[in-house]
C-alpha cells in the first residue's frame, strides 16, 4: 500500500520490521493532521494573519516605498483632528442607527407572517423575499441608481401615483443616506427573515399550547416564549448587521460615490480613498484599525447586553 512496506528487505529481522511499521504508523498519525491543515495554514498565514499584522505596523508609518518612515502615533493623532473622518463616522453611524432596527424589525414581522399556518403559499413568499440576498451589491447599486433617479426613476413615479411629492433621492444629503438605508433594507431583510424563520421553527409547539392552556394571550406568548427562544438568533443578526453596516462600502460607492457633499461617505470609503486614491498607506491603515476597534467594541457591547439579559 504505502512506502512503509518497501524497506522491509529480507535482511531485516521480523521484529525490527514490525517495530518500524509501528513507528511509521505513529509518525503518520501525528503528521497527518498537520499535512491536512497545511493548505489552510499557509493560505491563512500569508493572506490573512500577515496582512492583519502588517496593517497594524503600517499604521505607524508614513510615506511609501523606499521613503517609508516611522511616524509613531502621528496617523492616529491626525485621525482625531480629521473632520472628514468624523463626517464618515457620523454618516456610517446614522445609517446604522436607522437601518439595523428597521430591517430587523421588518424581518421579524416577515418571519412571523411566513411562519403562520394561516398564510397560503408560504413557500412562494419565502422564496420571493429571499431573492434579493442573492444579488451582488454592485448590481443592486446600479439597479437602484436608476430606480431612485429623481426625474425618471420608478420610485418617484410610484410616489407620484399615490399623490406624494417626488424626492431628490440621490441629490440631497439626508435623502442620499436614506437611499442607502432603503437599498440595504431591500437587500438584507429577507435574508434575516429566513434566519428568524429557521429559529421560529425550532421552537417546540408544545410550549405555545401549554401557554394557551394557562391563558396567555398572543402578546404574552410572543414576549414569554418567542423572544427568549430567538435570543441567540437575534443576537447573531444584530451583531452581524452592525458589523456589516460599519464596513459599508459597495452600495454607496456605486449608488452615490460618497456624495452629495460627502453625505454618504463611509469609513470604509474614506479608507479606500486614502489608500488607493492618495496612496497614503499609513493613514489608510490607521483608518482600518480605527474601524477594527469600532467593530470589536460595538460587537462586544452588544453581546454583553443581549447575552446577559434574562439568562
Amino acid at each position: 500500500m504505502t512506502a512503509a512496506a518497501e524497506p522491509a528487505a529480507p535482511s531485516v529481522p521480523l521484529a525490527e520490521e514490525a517495530r518500524r511499521t509501528h513507528r511509521s504508523a505513529r509518525w503518520r498519525r501525528t503528521a497527518v493532521p498537520y499535512l491536512l491543515l497545511a493548505p489552510a495554514l499557509i493560505t491563512f498565514g500569508v493572506f490573512k494573519a500577515y496582512p492583519i499584522l502588517d496593517s497594524l505596523l503600517l499604521s505607524f508609518t508614513t510615506g511609501s516605498g523606499a521613503a517609508t518612515r516611522d511616524a509613531g502615533l502621528a496617523n492616529y493623532r491626525r485621525l482625531l483632528d480629521d473632520p472628514l473622518f468624523w463626517t464618515a463616522l457620523r454618516n456610517t453611524a446614522e445609517i446604522l442607527v436607522v437601518q439595523v432596527p428597521l430591517m430587523l424589525g421588518l424581518a421579524l414581522l416577515m418571519a412571523a407572517g411566513i411562519n403562520s399556518v394561516l398564510v397560503r403559499w408560504r413557500a412562494v413568499w419565502r422564496l420571493g423575499v429571499f431573492m434579493p440576498a442573492v444579488t451582488g451589491l454592485v448590481a443592486t447599486g446600479v439597479m437602484f441608481a436608476f430606480l431612485l433617479n429623481t426625474e425618471h426613476g420608478a420610485v418617484n413615479w410610484l410616489l407620484d401615483a399615490v399623490g406624494l411629492p417626488a424626492v431628490d433621492w440621490l441629490g440631497r444629503p439626508f435623502w442620499a443616506r436614506m437611499s442607502v438605508v432603503l437599498v440595504l433594507t431591500w437587500h438584507y431583510t429577507g435574508y434575516n427573515a429566513v434566519i428568524y424563520l429557521a429559529g421560529l421553527q425550532g421552537i417546540p409547539k408544545e410550549l405555545y399550547e401549554a401557554a394557551m392552556v394557562d391563558g396567555a394571550g398572543p402578546v404574552r406568548r410572543f414576549t414569554a416564549i418567542t423572544v427568549p427562544a430567538l435570543r441567540p438568533v437575534l443576537l447573531f443578526t444584530v451583531v452581524l448587521s452592525t458589523i456589516g453596516t460599519l464596513q459599508l462600502f459597495d452600495e454607496p460607492y456605486v449608488l452615490t460615490g460618497g456624495g452629495p457633499d460627502n453625505a454618504t461617505l463611509t469609513v470604509s470609503m474614506y479608507l479606500y480613498q486614502n489608500g488607493f486614491r492618495y496612496f497614503d498607506f499609513g493613514y489608510a491603515s490607521a483608518v482600518a484599525y480605527a474601524l477594527t476597534l469600532l467593530v470589536s467594541v460595538l460587537g462586544a457591547v452588544q453581546m454583553r447586553l443581549m447575552g446577559e439579559r434574562g439568562t
Binding site: 493532521p33 489552510a40 503600517l58 411566513i114 454592485v138 431591500w186 460607492y253 479606500y272 498607506f281
Partner: protein, 281 residues
C-alpha cells in the same frame, strides 16, 4: 364546536396576511422584473411612463454594445474563472482542514482553530493595503492570482466543515482505515460522498461570494481586460460620459441572472448554505 365553520374562519383570517406577504414579495422581486425588462429595451424606452411591462427586442443590441464597450465575453470569462477556481480551491482547503480539526487530536488544535475564527471579526478592509503591497512586491497586480489567492482560505468554510464532520461517526472512518486505506482515500471515498449535501451548499455559497466580490478586485485590477463583471459594471456606471443605460442594465441583469437561476434551481442547498453562514457567529 363546528370544525367546518372554524376552518372557514381560519381561511378568512389568513387572507389579509397572505396579501400583505404578497405585497412584500412584490417589493422584493419588483426591481428584478424592472431590470429584466429594461435590459431588453432601447435607451429611450427605459424611463417611459407608464413603464413597459413586457420584454422588448433589444437585448441583443444592448449586449452587443456592452461587448464593444467593456469586452463583455472576456469580463464574464474572468468572473467565471475566478469564481470557479476560488470555489474549488476554498472547498478543498476547508474540507482538508475541517477534517483535521474534527477527526484528529493534535498539539495546537484548539489554538489554531481559535486563531482562524478570530479573524472573522476583522473587517475585510484591514487587509486591503497590505494585500495590495504584497501583490505589488510579488509582481502579481492585475493578474488572476492576485484575485484568487486571498480567497482560498475562508475561515467560515473551515468552521462549517468542522462542524458537519464532527457529527460523522468515527466507525465509518475506522472501517475504511482497517481495510488499509490512507487518509486521503478515506476522505475521498468515505467522507466526501457522505458530506455531499454540505459540500454542495458550501460550494454555492462560496461561488456566490466570489462572483459578487468587489472591493479587492477593484483595488487589485488595473487593466479593463482583467476586470471581473462587478468591477466592469461599476466602472461603466461611474463613467459620467456614458449614458448607455440599455447596455449598463443588460450587463447588470446578466450579472444577477445566473445567480437567480442557480438559486431557484437549488434553493434548498442555497438557503442551508446561507444559514450555515448565519450561524458562524
Amino acid at each position: 364546536m363546528n370544525p367546518d365553520k372554524s376552518s372557514h374562519l381560519k381561511e378568512l383570517r389568513g387572507w389579509p396576511l397572505t396579501f400583505l406577504l404578497a405585497g412584500v414579495t412584490g417589493l422584493s422581486v419588483g426591481p428584478f422584473y424592472w431590470l429584466v425588462i429594461a435590459a431588453t429595451r432601447k435607451d429611450t424606452e427605459i424611463f417611459d411612463w407608464p413603464p413597459k411591462l413586457l420584454p422588448g427586442g433589444d437585448l441583443g443590441d444592448n449586449l452587443d454594445r456592452l461587448q464593444r464597450r467593456i469586452g463583455l465575453l472576456r469580463v464574464v470569462g474572468n468572473s467565471l474563472l475566478v469564481a470557479g477556481v476560488q470555489t474549488v480551491g476554498a472547498l478543498v482547503v476547508a474540507l482538508l482542514a475541517g477534517y483535521a480539526f474534527a477527526k484528529f487530536r493534535f498539539r495546537g488544535r484548539t489554538l489554531l482553530f481559535a486563531l482562524l475564527l478570530s479573524t472573522l471579526v476583522v473587517p475585510e478592509q484591514v487587509m486591503l493595503v497590505p494585500l495590495f503591497k504584497m501583490m505589488t512586491d510579488l509582481g502579481l497586480l492585475d493578474t488572476y492570482q492576485a484575485i484568487i489567492l486571498p480567497g482560498l482560505c475562508v475561515p467560515f468554510a473551515v468552521f462549517l466543515m468542522r462542524q458537519s464532520l464532527t457529527s460523522l461517526p468515527d466507525e465509518l472512518l475506522d472501517a475504511a482505515r482497517v481495510d488499509g486505506a490512507g487518509e486521503l482515500r478515506v476522505l475521498w471515498n468515505v467522507v466526501v460522498p457522505v458530506m455531499r449535501p454540505v459540500l454542495a451548499a458550501l460550494a454555492i455559497f462560496l461561488f456566490l461570494g466570489s462572483w459578487n466580490q468587489f472591493v479587492w478586485p477593484l483595488v487589485a485590477l488595473r487593466s479593463p481586460d482583467m476586470h471581473t463583471l462587478p468591477v466592469a459594471l461599476a466602472t461603466l456606471h461611474g463613467n459620467q460620459s456614458t449614458t448607455d443605460y440599455g447596455a449598463i442594465l443588460s450587463g447588470t441583469a446578466l450579472s444577477t441572472l445566473p445567480m437567480m437561476a442557480l438559486f431557484l434551481l437549488l434553493q434548498r442547498q442555497f438557503i442551508s448554505g446561507l444559514l450555515a453562514g448565519a450561524t458562524k457567529g
